[in-house]
Amino acid sequence: MLSKKQARAFFLGGTVVTFLIFIGLTVYSFTKEQDQSNYGNITEQVVRGKKLWESNNCMGCHTILGEGAYYAPELTKVIDRRGKGYIKAVLMTPQPWQPNGRKMVAYGFSEQEAEDIISFFDWIDDIDLNGFDRVVSPLAKDKINN
């Protein structure tokens, strides 16, 4: 029968080993050869867009890369779905915005800010998402073709 000492060794040993593997895999997945996060294409404009995305808590309603609040549409591949003109209009409008009855805060971004956010979306769209982008994007393309 298992003793308390053995149980403790199992806990400590298991924790140390799995954590070391975890750190190893983290380093591995961000090495240049393995990286698929489109890191090299981040520009200053993309970073500005990301800051606007965060400082307005867009994730509090929308999702991006599948992460967010499920209250408003997924924005990965949104440029495919809606086109840049439409997105720019939504971001810049000072009028309350209510597509299909669900309200969005009217942020009234400047043209520069809207372009920064679009540039952030553009960068997102080139990330290799292991197939998730295909779950989201064919939908978009079908819509456009219709």
Binding site: F11, G14, S37, L65, G68, R102, G131, L139
Partner: protein, 445 residues
């Protein structure tokens, strides 16, 4: 109650109850918005309500964990807390940081990163607050007459939780890396170190309530927390399948996520078996309800529903849908909310000297809250599965789908009302116990 300083726990629990009420209120704001009743949009848009709802959850659970530690550590270490005054300073500063953050969310003052919305300057205050808390707990433990496994596991969980807050504070230009390290905090908290805290509290409660030998309970505690880390650390990979990192995570995350329910199953079996083995003499049956309930519901909510959602083939379609909300609600309720309510139910009569654990109000609170939460989980689940099929299989537009599934949010609101009635009864019970008193020191319990 054995030590005067344990009374400080009461005020942490009281803060927890207050924040829980606020959390539920903001939950209702979101639920009503989803069925089109969004009259508060100008003042509390959905993203504000959402940030408040999830952050209050984290803060009231942390306040509950801290209260649990202030109650458990003196009793386990067999000495008074090193400084009661500093514990009150820590309580007040925790409340102030929480209130400032929540008020700030109404004025666009936040970081906008899911679960970690607290703005950076307040992050530093959180760090100071947690360091003070850890200092008090660890010094008490270090100076104590004994260092039990229960106390060590609980303290280790609290210490790791503090350390793991740090990766969330590293700034990244890349959304992918930001997300990657955000999960170091969020996942490794809830599916890692928080389980140590839960295990520590569970072990303390089982020792007290069942009368089973400490050595037996603590041995199995090691096995359970061992299983938790063995599966949970690499199980973080299930958040990495589709956010723009290497495919290796699909394999690693898939395998280890599938093992995660084992830790929860072990915890449920452990709690039920210890109860069966025990003498069943302890009169506080309500605390026992909540304790066994936490172990069983966490297996269903965190273990089984988590497993259903984290298979890579399923997650490809459920990622970023209401299916996550289904799993999230029952998992947090079972694993963490219920264990906090369990330690409150156990310690309150001991701190106040009022033994109200035979009331039917307490049992009603337990059943109404649980049935309500299971109903909410089902409503989220049906809405989520319908969303997956309509949006991702049949390629319907997002808002069209939202209109189709809005009826499930009516069900959600009805179930949430039942849940709220249960919580209201629990809080009435809390209030009826009155304030903690030194006279309770003479009462055995």
């Amino acid at each position: 109650m054995k030590y005067k300083s344990q009374k400080v726990a009461y005020w942490f629990f009281a803060l927890s109850m207050l924040l829980l009420v606020l959390q539920i209120t903001y939950g209702f704001i979101m639920g009503f918005a989803r069925v089109g009743l969004d009259g508060l949009h100008e003042f509390v848009p959905f993203n504000t309500a959402r940030a408040v709802h999830t952050n209050l959850l984290v803060v009231w659970l942390l306040s509950g964990f801290m209260g649990a530690a202030y109650y458990i550590i003196p009793e386990e270490a067999q000495r008074e807390l090193v400084s009661v005054k500093l514990a009150y300073v820590q309580l007040i500063s925790l409340a102030v940081v929480g209130v400032v953050a929540v008020v700030g969310y109404h004025f666009n003052y936040w970081e906008g990163r899911k679960f970690l919305e607290i703005p950076r300057p307040l992050d530093y205050l959180v760090v100071v607050n947690v360091l003070l808390f850890l200092g008090l707990i660890l010094v008490t433990l270090f100076k104590g007459k004994r260092k039990t496994t229960t106390a060590l596991v609980l303290s280790m969980g609290l210490l790791f939780a503090a350390l793991l807050y740090l990766p969330g504070m590293i700034p990244f230009d890349s959304q992918v890396m930001d997300s990657f390290f955000r999960w170091w905090v969020v996942h490794l908290w809830v599916e890692g170190v928080w389980e140590l805290i839960m295990g520590g509290i569970l072990s303390f409660l089982l020792i007290k309530l069942t009368g089973v030998d400490r050595e037996v309970i603590e041995k199995w505690l090691y096995v359970i927390v061992g299983l938790t880390f063995l599966s949970g650390v690499l199980g973080t990979g299930h958040h990495y399948y589709y956010i723009g990192v290497n495919k290796i995570w699909i394999i690693v995350g898939g395998i280890f996520s599938a093992l995660e329910p084992l830790a929860f199953l072990a915890m449920a079996l452990f709690a039920v078996n210890m109860y069966r083995k025990g003498e069943k003499k302890h009169p506080n049956k309500l605390a026992l309800y909540w304790t066994l309930g936490a172990a069983i519901v966490s297996f269903v909510g965190a273990g089984l529903l988590g497993f259903a959602h984290t298979l890579p083939q399923t997650n490809l379609y459920t990622h970023g849908t209401l299916v996550t909300a289904m799993h999230g609600h029952l998992a947090f309720w079972g694993a963490y909310a219920m264990i906090v309510l369990a330690i409150i139910s156990y310690s309150l009569p001991n701190m106040t000297g009022r033994k109200l654990y035979d009331s039917s109000r307490g049992r009603m609170a337990f059943w109404m809250a649980n049935i309500g939460m299971v109903g909410m989980t089902i409503a989220f689940g049906v809405a989520g599965v319908a969303q997956v099929y309509l949006e991702r299989k049949f390629k319907m537009d997002f808002m069209q789908v939202q209109n189709e599934i809005s009826i499930h949010f009516v069900v959600l609101i009805i179930c949430a009302t039942l849940f709220t009635l249960g919580i209201t009864l629990y809080i009435i019970d809390f209030y009826k116990h009155g304030k903690p008193t030194n006279e309770a020191l003479e009462i055995k319990g």
